[in-house]
């Protein structure tokens, strides 16, 4: 237990150092955080626009979609807050600074994500929490202990699923040195899809989202269980509560892909 705790401590220490550096520019920091908070509302506004025209979406009411949106968006924004610096991996690889991470006695993935900590990303977390509050206040759900437990477990599990997808996708840069766009299509695209009920999508896209890139497990399947909805696709009920296990499996797979990718690192400049 000592090792993970110590690493968590170092994560906080490094993040705190990054935050201190950003706080040297207080006004800019404040504006960016508020900006992030407001912009993320546009996202949710798009959903409200749809519901202004139709009373239901794939059999889901506005409050139900709000819960779906809030869980997936909270999971994503937490992931983004913790490991968002992964976006800079292509740059680290191109200019060879990834070399320096390899000669330090810590995991490389850990070091990449702790290179920076953008505190402004907390704006998106705040917005997700507000939508979650709206959903919980307007939903007509009987909160049995199993539903509460699943809701609580779903958020870290969803964050872990998003993180795993992100890590796995970004690994392409170890071979191509470019490829942020490909990785972004998968991660940000995956987030977008996870914010709507999957039964509104075409069949192949549904399978892709449920199994290959498991974003359906971030919010959709747990929401079916929490809301007590019958699965319109008739999939087994155990799928609805299996998100934490899917998250662990995804994390293991992503870890394996990362290890393989790092061994392919070719270090710039001969």
């Amino acid at each position: 237990m000592g090792e993970p705790l110590e690493s968590a401590g170092l994560f906080l220490r490094l993040s705190a150092a990054r935050i201190r550096a950003q706080l040297q520019y207080r006004t800019s920091f404040a504006l960016q955080t508020v900006g992030m908070f407001l912009i993320s509302f546009l996202d949710f506004a798009a959903i409200l626009v749809i519901f202004a025209n139709v009373p239901q979406l794939g059999g889901w009411s506005v409050s139900e979609v709000a819960l779906l949106y809030a869980i997936s968006s909270l999971a994503f924004s937490l992931t983004d807050l913790a490991i968002g610096h992964l976006d800079y991996l292509p740059q680290l690889i191109r200019d060879g600074s990834f070399d320096l991470l390899l000669v330090r006695p810590r995991g490389t993935l850990f070091q990449v994500v702790t290179q920076d900590f953008q505190i402004r990303r907390i704006g998106k977390v705040a917005q997700s929490l507000m939508v979650l509050g709206y959903a919980l206040a307007t939903l007509d759900v009987i909160w049995t202990p199993d539903r509460v437990a699943l809701l609580i477990a779903t958020i870290p599990a969803g964050a872990l699923i998003f993180a795993s997808i992100w890590v796995a996708a970004i690994c392409i840069v170890f071979w191509t040195t470019e490829g942020n766009e490909a990785a972004n299509a998968v991660t940000y695209g995956g987030t977008f899809f996870a914010q709507y009920p999957i039964n509104i999508y075409d069949r192949w896209l549904r399978r892709f989202l449920a199994y290959l890139i498991p974003t359906a497990f971030v919010a959709y399947f747990p929401c079916l269980y929490i809301l007590g909805k019958a699965d319109p696709l008739g999939l087994p009920v155990w799928l609805q509560v299996s998100s934490p296990l899917v998250a662990l499996a995804a994390a293991l797979a992503a870890g394996l892909i990362w290890r393989t990718a790092v061994r392919h690192y070719q270090s710039a400049g001969g």
Partner: protein, 327 residues
Amino acid sequence: MALVDVQDLRKEFVVRRGSGLRRERVVVRAVDGITFAIESGSIVGYIGPNGAGKSTTVKMLTGILVPSGGRVSVAGFVPSKQRTKLAARIGVMFGQRVQLWWDLPLIESFELLRHIYRVPAERFRQNLDMLGAALELGPFLRTPVRQLSLGQRIRGELTAAMLHEPDILFLDEPTIGLDVVARQRVRELLLRANRERGLTVLLTSHDLVDIERLCSRILVIDHGHLVYDGGLETLKERYGTERVLVVDLEEPRPPLDVEGARVIKVDGPRQWIAFERERTNAARLTAQVAALAPLRDLTLQEPDIEDVVRRIYAEGATGSAGRSSTA
């Protein structure tokens, strides 16, 4: 066991040349079968022209690159397999890469590194005191790294590489951008750490004074092969066979014509006469010169390492002349 043990080490890169449909795969052998061992407590210079395979070798020794073939062991670890364990025992400074936190005061970067390397607080304080005094970090310890001059930053980087008391230090151009005084300070620090706690250093440098002052042994690499492994004196003898006799004549004369030697420079009454070790010697040459013109004074210049290296590079670039002399 030797601190560094390298056997038949190889690294191949696949390079794609051309574009579109006519792209072809070319295998480049950056390091092509290198074998050497470094004992604990030595300072070794690793020299060779750009693109010879120097940094590729160092990257394999430090666990950055996975070798294509051969065996490596550093401080008892296989770098590519036990990377994090090895990292705790080595210090690395690459001239061009910044490992300090750009927007934090220098001292805070050190503090973060202390936690990354798990250095006990007391040891950290002692090491920082020692390094800070040796490199005179005091005046800019609380300055953000981005505001440091190049020389100050490099001294900071060297400190960062030594705070965790590594067994071996890999230095790539450690004195680049430093003024003469700072350069001397860096060299003294390395010699002292070597003397007092047996620090081993593998050094690549274009500053040949670094090599001459610090290194007891030199490895020369060219085209991925080790072309020389031995002491500085032997290297000079082997590659620097040409010495120069500088003579001051009583009065200016046209270039003297002496057997087995040639005049390479004339400046008033002073003439520089270069000669090969095998063809003549200083005594015979002096006698010849004295017979031709009245002599006032003379000095003998030994080849310096700059000439030696220039010669190795020249030979290496033209083919196998260097390789055939592998020890």
